[in-house]
Every structure is written in C-alpha cells, then in structure tokens.
C-alpha cells in the first residue's frame, strides 16, 4: 500500500472531476438547474464512505479471526476517515438541499437515516475510547463495527426506498423526479467516486502509519 501510483491516480481523477464537473455539459433540469453538478462532489463522499466502511468491516473480521493488532488499526482508521467523509456528505447535502428542496433539513428519510448512521459510528469511537484495556478495546470495537455496518447498510440503501423520499431513486416523490444518470454524467461521476475514495485511503494510510509509530514509541517506553 506504500506505493505512490494509486495516490497519483486518485489525485489525477479528482483533479479531472474538479474541472470536468464544472465545465462539461450538464443536463438542463427543472429545480436542479446548475446545481446538478453538485452530484459530482456530494455523492462521491457517500460512496467513498461506504466503500471504506466495507473495507473496515473486512479488517475487523480479519482481526477477530487472527488476533493481529494491525488489522484493528486498519479498521479504526478507516472508520475515522469514513466519519470525515460522512460529515462532509451531510454538510454538502444540506447546502444542496437548501437550494433545491427549500430547507437544509426536511427530515427526508435518507437524511435522517444517514444522520443516525453517523451517530452509530460516533458511538463506536466513544465506545473504544472508554475501554482502557487494549485487547478488550480492539475486540469489542471489532464486534461493534460489524454490527454498526449491518445497521448502516439497511439504513442507507433499503429503508429510504420503502417510503417517499426526496432523494433520487427513493420512493416516488412527484415533486422531484428521480433521474437516471446518463453516460455523460457518469463520465465525471465514476472517476469522482474512485478519486475521492483513493484520497480517503491515502489519508487513512498516513494515519495508520502514525498509529504504528505511536505504538512503537509506546513499546519502547
């Protein structure tokens, strides 16, 4: 993971989406107008978050199976970056919602669900910090992480679809058409998802290395 090529790809992809996201042709849609471009920046936060949380759960499971402390550090740092992405996703979503749905918070099912999801992960950090024994901290943290993920996925992807939601692709709200992304939008959107995720992994990697340094210093003391 210490290679540089994937970091360069991540930077290049985000670089490309910053330019293309603002300059490329965008569909002229009612209500959304020019803000359709926010999709290339707001949605990748959530995609990146879910991708990194998935990786985190895999590392938590590997930690429980092997007992290797390394995997636990991977898991916690991935969650930390995911929380950053989630907060940015909520914040950007609120700005976008203010100008398209009329209010920053309209208690849209997906908004509420993602806020609950964030709270679940805040609790994960709190839970870990409240346990002093490192072994116990890692084990309970890993188990909690699996349960948190198992709650988050239905919250984000299943429950909002079962009711009326303002978010595209959820329920059948007549005031806001759910648009299917076309090829031209995908050309910017998918690179944005990959690029931002890679940047997130880069940040995570730096923090993992700092965490290793810290544990090494702690050992010597």
């Amino acid at each position: 993971m210490r290679k540089t090529w994937w970091k360069i790809i991540g930077v290049a992809l985000v670089f490309y989406t910053l330019i293309a996201g603002l300059l490329m042709d965008a569909p002229r849609l009612a209500i959304l107008n020019e803000t359709i471009r926010a999709m290339h920046f707001h949605v990748p936060m959530w995609f990146g978050m879910v991708i990194m949380l998935t990786a985190s759960v895999i590392f938590s499971i590997r930690y429980l199976r092997t007992g290797n402390q390394k995997f636990d550090i991977y898991a916690i740092e991935l969650v930390n970056t995911s929380i950053l992405f989630g907060i940015l996703g909520l914040a950007t979503g609120m700005i976008w919602a203010n100008y398209t749905w009329g209010a920053p918070w309209s208690s849209d099912p997906k908004q509420n669900a993602s806020a609950i999801g964030m709270l679940i992960y805040f609790a994960y950090i709190l839970l870990r910090n409240s346990i002093t024994d490192p072994q116990q901290k890692a084990k309970i943290g890993a188990v909690y992480n699996i349960f948190a993920y198992a709650t988050l996925i239905p919250l984000l992807f299943i429950l909002p679809r079962l009711t009326d939601s303002l978010h595209p692709g959820n329920g059948g709200n007549p005031g806001f058409n759910a648009y299917e992304l076309d090829g031209r939008l995908r050309m910017v959107f998918y690179p944005a998802v990959i690029g931002w995720t890679l940047l997130g992994v880069w940040l995570t990697e730096l923090r993992i290395r700092l965490s290793f340094i810290k544990s090494k210093i702690d050992e010597e003391d």
């Binding site: 042709d25 569909p27 679809r161 880069w202 090494k216």
Partner: protein
Amino acid sequence: MKKIKYFLVLTLLTMSLGLYAQKTEIVEEDYENDRIEMADTMRSEGKIYVLVAIIVTLFVGFTIYAVMTEQKVKKIEKSLKERE
C-alpha cells in the same frame, strides 16, 4: 447446506429487485432546451474559468501539503527503524 445458501441468496436478490424505484431517463432534449435557466452568461463571459482556476489551485496546494506530510512521516519511520 450449500443449496440452502444459494437459495437464500437467490430469494434475497429477487426480493431486492422490487426495491428498484422508477427513474426518469435524461434525454438529449434535457441538454438542449432553453426553458431551464442555467449559468449561461457566466459561461459565455468566461468567468467560469476563474472559478475552476481557484478551485484547482486550492486542490493542488492541499495535495502538495499532503505529500510533504507523508515525507515527514517517512522520515520518522526511518529514524525509528535506525534506533532499533
């Protein structure tokens, strides 16, 4: 056991199909209409490039700083290894 697993996956997949919501497709007309107001003046005046330049400059700055931070971490790792 394996059969049950496959059966479960298949049932869950079929059930999830029902969750797909109806979506409106974006058509060529959406790109060409004049009804919807967009920031056309700003684009025709070329001011949009100012925005792009500002955002790109910020991103480049943060990227350089991130690379420098990584170099610092590398240095500490090295000095820790040498101490051992």
